[in-house]
Amino acid sequence: MADLRVNIGGLEFKNPVTTASGTFGNGEEFEDFFDLDLLGGMFVKGMTLEPREGNDYPRMAETASGMLNAVGLQNKGVDHFIKEIYPRIKHFDTHIIPNINGSTVEDYIEVAEKLNEIETIPAIELNISCPNVKAGGMLFGTSCPSAIAVTEAVRKAYDKVLIVKLSPNVTDIAEIAKGVEGAGADSVSLINTLLGMAVDAEKRKSVLSTVTGGLSGPAVKPVALRMVWQVYNAVKIPVFGIGGIMNATDAVEFMLAGAAAVQVGTANFIDPQIPVKIIKGIENYLERHHFDSVSELTGAMEI
């Protein structure tokens, strides 16, 4: 059997399949459906320094081959995560990776410092790409100097593996990836959702309470693949590929385009068992194509 292990900034993942933040709750909602120990890792729901109620309903619109969301980082704050949620989920034998958010650089630093203290949390994902909050979020990730500034600041506050989640709502994602690499990121994950909107013609009304929201699902996959390939060619740090992965073939495509590992997102809503099916499907693919190790797939696309 092929070796499924991958290495991200010195941290070993048992396989390259992880679940994307915002699509997997804190894992608990999926315990009914499969053994979470099988996952390479799980990126839990985005958290902030203070609790947030998120945006008003409606927060979701179905689109052609995808969906828009405008949840707006509803969460009870990092302290609640550390005191209440983490003790309930830490027994899972998989990397639990918090996704951190802030309105200011100071917010990010404080959240990172608190998580740095938790010995068994091996990594964080710095979210500078949430399109659904008024302050901070994507604003940090859409300009190179601010992406670098927040990454540098969090790097100083956080000793373990730092993954920076990039926004696709930029002119040159490779430039920003290079910037955060230089600022000390161990890895980048991409893409977060694409900014979009939906209109209800009959009601002559915007569908989302926030008008705009983040597009995800198979609709964004070609854009995500292109960006993963561009970033892979621009940086030396490993890349998490995200964007419309619905099955093992999609996951393999992302790895061939340059991803070292993947995050499965929106697909979890339709088939909560999909991460395990993808792990099995990748194993199958490696056997069929006679690979010894899954890491051989990374960037193996021929042109």
């Binding site: 909602e29 459906f33 998120g54 008003d56 309903y57 409606p58 052609a64 929106t266 909560p272």
Partner: protein, 259 residues
């Protein structure tokens, strides 16, 4: 509570009225306990424009023969496609999801008010209330006679009253205008409601004015249905809560409804 995700086999699709159907499916595994108000997420495949599963209240269940059924109104592409399912087709279901209606003490008098596809949870609710020795009255509203035909589903569980907007069956008007609600006539200990939101709000208002406990079942748009995405939230006195997980059944006074 254990949940199942499995391909079910379509046993029957029948149309009691032309815009709504009852679909019955057989589970490949034992069906877990279903409570009144629980729902399922149904996957509708190969339909352009339908990406997510669709949530539907569970109409009825037969544990012995592993059958589960749904009462579904055709609203869009997804429900239309599901209504075209043939005997033997496979459909993926996830259930049971959400919370359930709470039962009052035995002997209490209850009123169940609904309209449209909102009547779906009332069969299980009616049966449970009957076996709990409650005195049950159903009040079912619709535009015309055909919309309230389904009220016959409840006749075994209590008294059934109807209203229609055109007066073709029962009393003419909306459910909220039924003579049942004329002052001095309301002798209920509990009211349950499911249907269009303006109707539930009006019923909630009547319940509050008469000091009657009232539970409603919401049907916010959902992406996942099992608590992961936080898309279906409703505002409550304790902040935003997930309709799919903390709901779909809420006490009206827990909601931030201005009623």
């Amino acid at each position: 509570m254990s949940k199942i995700i499995a391909d079910h086999v379509v046993v029957e699709v029948r149309y009691p009225v032309n815009d709504s159907f009852i679909i019955t499916l057989r589970s490949p595994v034992d069906i877990p306990d279903i409570l009144p108000g629980n729902f399922a997420e149904i996957q509708i495949e190969n339909t352009t424009g339908v990406f997510l599963r669709r949530p539907f209240s569970i109409l009825d269940v037969d544990y012995e023969s592993r059958m589960i059924s749904f009462f579904i109104k055709i609203i869009g592409k997804g429900t239309k496609k599901l209504g075209e399912a043939k005997r033997g087709d496979k459909v993926s279901l996830i259930y049971p999801l959400g919370n359930s209606f709470s039962l009052p003490e035995p002997g209490k008098k209850v009123l169940i008010v609904g309209g449209g596809s909102g009547i779906a949870p009332f069969v299980l609710l009616g049966r449970n209330l009957k076996s709990n020795n409650n005195d049950v009255t159903f009040l079912i509203g619709g535009k015309s006679k055909k919309d309230v035909l389904v009220s016959s589903l409840f006749s075994g569980f209590g008294k059934v009253l109807t209203t229609t907007e055109d007066g073709s069956a029962g009393e003419k008007g909306f459910v909220t205008g039924h003579s049942l609600f004329k002052s001095g006539n309301i002798h209920f200990d509990k009211i349950y409601s499911c249907g269009p939101e303006p109707m539930m709000k009006a019923i909630g208002k009547i319940a509050n004015r008469n000091g009657i406990d009232c539970e409603v079942s919401l049907e916010n748009m959902m992406a996942c249905g099992f608590g992961a995405c936080l898309c279906c939230v409703t505002e409550t006195i304790e902040g935003n809560k997930r309709v799919c997980k903390e709901g779909p059944v809420f006490n009206v006074n827990y909601l931030k409804w201005r009623i």
